[in-house]
């Protein structure tokens, strides 16, 4: 490896999704610092680049699911589809001058702290990148997870994950099996049902599904928003507070749980006649324990002659088909795995090494955690965006990322001035105890379901923020130096 392969910058950003591009916009607007985004894909957008399955769209209304600093008057409908969201983030990256600072197709192999030089060193193939600060914006819904079922390797038909959709496979007239009943599955099922010869949906546990209110915006409305941008802001606030109200449903208050359960089961009853099918589609856990989904065309898909619902999960896969819990084999040409992501055990943690060469994976032996959701002891000047305890069951992920950006920008100004900041282990411990206190009594730990919100190693809630979104900002936005060991090494040239 020669010296000429090494690129030095002020801030390295790993990942060019909403979080990575967002912090880059802050750096562009507010500082003179140089930065590089290392992005494994061919464009920005993260999950919104990868999830190209038919029917992919956002669950959170687009006027809320967008940057507060870059409102978009041109959303075509309330819940924009994936291509439109991708186009939006690409446009932001372009217009804000971020795009030239992104290294695409750059998959980071390893990240390592160099104690002697007080630098983070990231390698990708034969390229080396160095910076005093590093922002981890890799997300936790970015690495596809396949189900652990016997025989999957032996399958001879086409097999792919919903987040790695194989567009070369024409599903028209094919026999298709889809594994899963979560957020991706409910969007895929109605689309595949329209074209496949046969669709077998294999469900492990039924989801709560509510009606999707999804009007299109007229040209007049779009121009109204462009001419009076404050109207977008008002809609945004309205949507935000309506979602905050939903949070109260997750806190074990019976009257509120009953209201939302009634709405979801009423939606099911409106769409599926009483009988075996409706029973199979009725969830067996407390509402909110897993994500509450929104769809108007998921349930009706099961009334089609070419769609079959199999409950109890996958028993095994054969070379030519798939077998459900009932032992019946379904011969299929294609298996689609809509089974989610490596949310609690993120692959990058195995390849990231802090002080004393200790890996992040080792540091996180009880599950992932970070002080104020952003800093990890033993990993100085490393800042997490959309890492531990940043998921929401009820509101916009971008709001959360923006709240963290305020914290990280303050930290980056200090590290640029020559400080090495490492959060104290006991501060991190105290913070996690507070998160645990907030988690107690929430539906996620006591709702009787298994979900990606909880780390299977410790039973702790590691991916979700267990409170209102506005408290996330109150707690996790203000940077307080008292929690840190601060070493002054002099300003970086």
């Amino acid at each position: 490896m020669s010296e000429t392969d090494t690129t030095r910058t002020d801030v390295l950003i790993v990942g060019g999704g909403f979080a990575g591009v967002g912090i880059a916009v802050h750096l562009e607007r507010e500082t003179e610092q140089n930065y590089l985004i290392l992005e494994r894909g061919h464009t920005v957008g993260g999950a919104w680049r990868d999830n190209t399955y038919p029917g992919a769209e956002c669950d959170v209304p687009s006027h809320l699911y967008s940057y507060s600093f870059s409102l978009n008057p041109n959303w075509t409908k309330m819940h924009a589809q994936q291509p439109e969201i991708l186009e939006y983030i690409e446009k932001v990256a372009e217009e804000e001058g971020v795009a030239p600072n992104i290294r695409f197709n750059t998959n980071v192999d390893e990240i390592r702290w160099d104690e002697a030089r007080k630098l983070w060193v990231a390698t990708s193939g034969d390229q080396v990148f160095e910076a005093p600060s590093i922002v981890m914006a890799t997300g936790y819904l970015s690495d596809a997870k396949f189900p652990d079922v016997p025989g999957l390797d032996s399958y001879t038909g086409k097999l792919f994950h919903s987040a790695e959709w194989d567009h070369s496979v024409d599903l028209a007239g094919k026999r298709v099996a889809l594994i899963g009943s979560g957020a991706s599955a409910i969007q895929i099922v109605p689309e595949v049902a329209k074209i496949a010869d046969k669709l077998v949906v294999i469900q492990r546990s039924a989801a709560y599904v509510t009606a999707r209110h999804d009007p299109h915006y007229t040209e007049a409305q779009k121009r109204m928003f462009a001419r009076r941008p404050e109207l977008m802001k008002r809609i945004r606030e309205d949507l935000f507070w309506a979602n905050e109200e939903r949070y109260a449903q997750r806190r074990g208050t019976q009257t509120l749980i009953e209201t939302v359960t009634k709405a979801a089961l009423g939606h099911l009853a409106n769409q599926i006649p009483a009988g075996e099918l409706r029973e199979k589609l009725t969830p067996d856990y407390t509402i909110g324990c897993k994500r509450i989904l929104k769809s108007n065309d998921y349930y009706p898909a099961f009334l089609r002659d070419n769609v079959e619902l199999v409950t109890g999960g996958v028993a095994r896969v054969t070379p030519t088909g798939i077998v459900g819990a009932d032992g019946v084999e379904h011969e299929v040409d294609v298996i689609i795995s809509a089974t989610g992501f490596e949310a609690t055990d993120i692959p990058m943690a195995y390849r990231t090494f802090g002080r004393d060469g200790r890996s992040l994976h080792e540091r996180w032996d009880r599950g992932m955690e970070a002080y104020k959701t952003t800093a990890v002891s033993g990993f100085p000047n490393m800042w997490f965006l959309k890492g531990p305890n940043t998921g929401l069951g009820h509101n916009s992920a971008i709001y959360i990322a923006e709240a963290q950006m305020d914290y990280v920008m303050e930290a980056l100004k200090r590290t640029h001035a020559g400080e090495v900041l490492e959060v104290q282990a006991e501060e991190q411990e105290a913070f996690m105890a507070e998160v645990e206190r907030l988690s107690a009594g929430t539906v996620w730990l006591s709702g009787g379901c298994s979900s990606w919100y909880v780390d299977p190693r410790s039973g702790r809630l590691t991916t979700l923020w267990p409170d209102f979104s506005f408290t996330f900002r109150e707690v996790n936005s203000p940077f307080v130096e008292d929690a840190y060991e601060i070493e002054k090494v002099g300003a970086f040239a």
Binding site: H213, R236, E237, D238, W241, E244, T255
Partner: protein, 279 residues
Amino acid sequence: MKLHPDSETGTVQLGDTQIAFHDTGAPGDGRTPIVLVHGTGGSTEAHFRTVYPMLAARHRVIGIDLAVAPGTDLDGLIAQVVAVIEDRSPGLPVHLVGYSLGSVVTAALAGRRQDLIETLTLIAGWITTDKQQRVRNSIWKALFEEGGRPLQEFQTLLAFSPQFLRTRADQDLETLISSRTFRDGIEVEMEINRTVDIEAEVDRISAPTLVIGATADQMVPITHSYMLLGGIENARLAEVDSGHGVTIERPAQVFMLIDDFVKAPDAVAAGDTIEPLTV
């Protein structure tokens, strides 16, 4: 009706009147309670259904269900709230929260009995009934005598913001209208509403006060909250983008404002308007 897993329902006797309450704590437990007083035609459940459990996750909360009978007047309502506070929180001043007519009751109480109040929150309140309010009150009276659908629609129209009604699903809007009932005593409260004038009491309020006004309120237009901001020495204002039914339209925001305020009443200086949250 259990508003929160910890809430217990009971009654306090005041002369011939029984006043119901919902309390998540007990007298002498050392926790300063937040006391909620509902508005016209309401109850703790009707007006604080969502705010109550949100607050109860962090505080002791007492919701009062006012008893209204023919002849009940403002002084009578104030006496009921005093009776519950003295019974449920003896010797420990409370965080008193009033909504709509409840804010008239609590503001007048705070002016007369400063010893009972730690802080005061006035949601969609007013000092003196004005001409715009009296016109509405007269129409309401005429419709109330007829009853039926027009009354339900009129109340729904004026209780919520245009934005809120516009964004309801058809079925939800219909439920909002057709499920609207008018409990006994509402005409007595509407008569009280016609002639409110608590200027003298408001002038004597000394407790740290939070005034919450709703920008699209057609029943108690936000001007009245501006008047309370001017009329109470130690008051700060929060504006919420909502109709009069602000505890139904924006319960989480109302919760945040009350929770922040009771935790640190002076965090926002007297006279200031609270900056809206960055969204």
